[in-house]
């Protein structure tokens, strides 16, 4: 790289300083507030540890992890099925479906919850149809305002993020391998299991780790569902800060949330680093 070709190295300072002001500085304040000494001579560490010990926090952490893991597994499953069908059992117009699913990436996640109210809510279409068809007294399905509803919405919202790396990986898959495997006597399912999926492992890891990151941080869906028992870490931060004005606790919990999130992000970047190239634009 010729030094004269590019601007002087100091040109990177302005954006760095800007980011420092609007991002790193607030981040450091969160850190400071999380460890701020409490009332009555309680040290910062003790206060922090105390908050981590409350049932409120621990339930939120548990829910966050539960939801993230289950949603990610479901996304991986649904995404793999869809990607396999789209790549290896193609039909005319498969590109359109691909576009439809990809537009969901650009849309806010909470809209799904709104749609689900109409579809699966107690006054929704599914319940209405079941009541009419089976002549029931009351709507039978009540999973929407619970973890089930959150999961359903998150799976719908985040499967496209698994689908994209898988489709990219499958599009580069050597078709001749499938044909030769077929000629050797392997049936379609055997080929999927032993030839295609092992090759897709990096893409699955990339999609899965991105999904984990997104589901851990998901806020809009949980907010809209508003289920009593379902509180995740972002929700807890919001409630504590806005509804209760308890900034110190909010910062403590936000800190935990940030640490988990950064760890997942670094893991995702590491996986991408081994995959490289085509997925660079995903961030």
């Amino acid at each position: 790289m010729t030094p004269r070709l590019h601007a002087a190295p100091l040109w990177v300072l302005p954006p760095l300083l800007l980011l420092g002001l609007v991002f790193f500085y607030p981040l450091s304040l969160i850190l400071a507030q999380a460890f701020a000494p409490g009332t009555g001579g309680v040290t910062g560490w003790e206060h922090f540890a105390h908050i981590l010990g409350t049932p409120l926090f621990q339930h939120a952490l548990l829910h966050t992890v539960q939801i993230a893991l289950s949603a990610t597994c479901a996304c991986l499953l649904l995404g793999t099925v869809l990607a396999l069908l789209m790549s290896f059992v193609p039909f005319p117009g498969v590109g359109l479906f691909s576009r439809l699913i990809e537009t969901y990436i650009a849309l806010p996640t909470f809209l799904l919850t709104l749609a689900f109210t109409f579809l699966y809510g107690s006054a929704g279409m599914l319940n209405g149809a079941l009541v009419a068809a089976l002549r029931l007294d009351a709507p039978p399905l009540d999973f929407l305002y619970s973890m089930g509803g959150v999961l359903l919405a998150e799976v719908t919202a985040f499967t496209p993020f698994v689908l994209r790396p898988l489709l990219a990986s499958f599009s580069q898959f050597e078709r001749a391998q499938i044909e030769v495997a077929s000629s050797l006597g392997a049936r379609p399912w055997h080929i999927v299991r032993r030839v295609i999926l092992p090759a897709a492992l990096p893409a699955l890891l990339a999609g899965g780790s991105l999904c984990l990151l997104l589901t851990v941080n998901e806020f809009g869906i949980v907010l809209f569902i508003g289920a009593k028992g379902v509180v995740t870490l972002p929700m807890l931060v919001y409630e504590l800060a806005i509804q209760e004005g308890d900034y110190v606790s909010a910062c403590s919990i936000a800190l935990v949330n940030i640490v988990i999130s950064m760890a997942l992000y670094l893991f995702y970047k590491a996986v991408l680093g081994r995959l490289g190239g085509a997925l660079a634009g995903l961030v």
């Binding site: 990177v12 954006p15 991002f23 909470f110 809209l111 799904l112 749609a115 806020f219 806005i242 999130s261």
Partner: protein, 266 residues
Amino acid sequence: MLVWSRPARWALWCAFGALVAVFYGLPLAVIALASVAGEWNGIFPSKLGLLHYRMALSGDLRDQIRASLLTGLGASAAALLAGSWAALALRAHTEAVRKWLSLAFFIPSAVPSVSVGLGLLVAFSQPPLLLNGTTLIVLVAHFVLVFAFTFGNVSAGLHGLMPEFELVARSLGATPGYCLRRITLPLIAPQLATAFSLSFALSMGELGATVMIYPPGWMTMPVGIFSLSDRGEVFDGSALSILLILITLVALLVVARLAEQGHDRR
């Protein structure tokens, strides 16, 4: 080429169609339906009409549309500028420095949006930097959240750019600024367009940070939709949602078309 028998293929296509229809077709269809529904007592809505859209395009809700658009355009433009600046400036550094600075520029996307909002609240609630309660804080929040995406896209574009173009331009006597303006930026125009449209889409749908910091007069569409649904006015909320989706998609298409045209002119 994986499945050989026609009946098996048709069965799989039906399964695929069912999955996509249920998961991805239904939600959009239902929101669209709800946005034009007068009443919805039974399984299907009745009294279809554009009442809710008229509501949305008047008074309060129109302010929300305006707030979202201005925030989106402003934050995306600022993020594109800053992200491109950072990506271009990084090229002058060694591999090691680039790695660490890149990480620093990407980190904002690793932080949950609610925490970004919280941080801004905590940092800018007192003088001399009192942003709490102003519209600027919303712009700043969106800027922080989309910056990493513009930086990533522009970096990828620059990475894929052959260095020969700039070398030849400089050898022909172009100053750095001229080269940047006439060679580098036009050649990465597609990535700039993608960066902008992606940022805009993200900003339009942003909820987590906005709901923490928005001042009373500057409610964005997502916050508005939430408060409408919270109050039980789900039909108005649906109409606003459809508008949100349409604006986002239109913006994406327009930018994509502009980028294509720019490409063709070359």
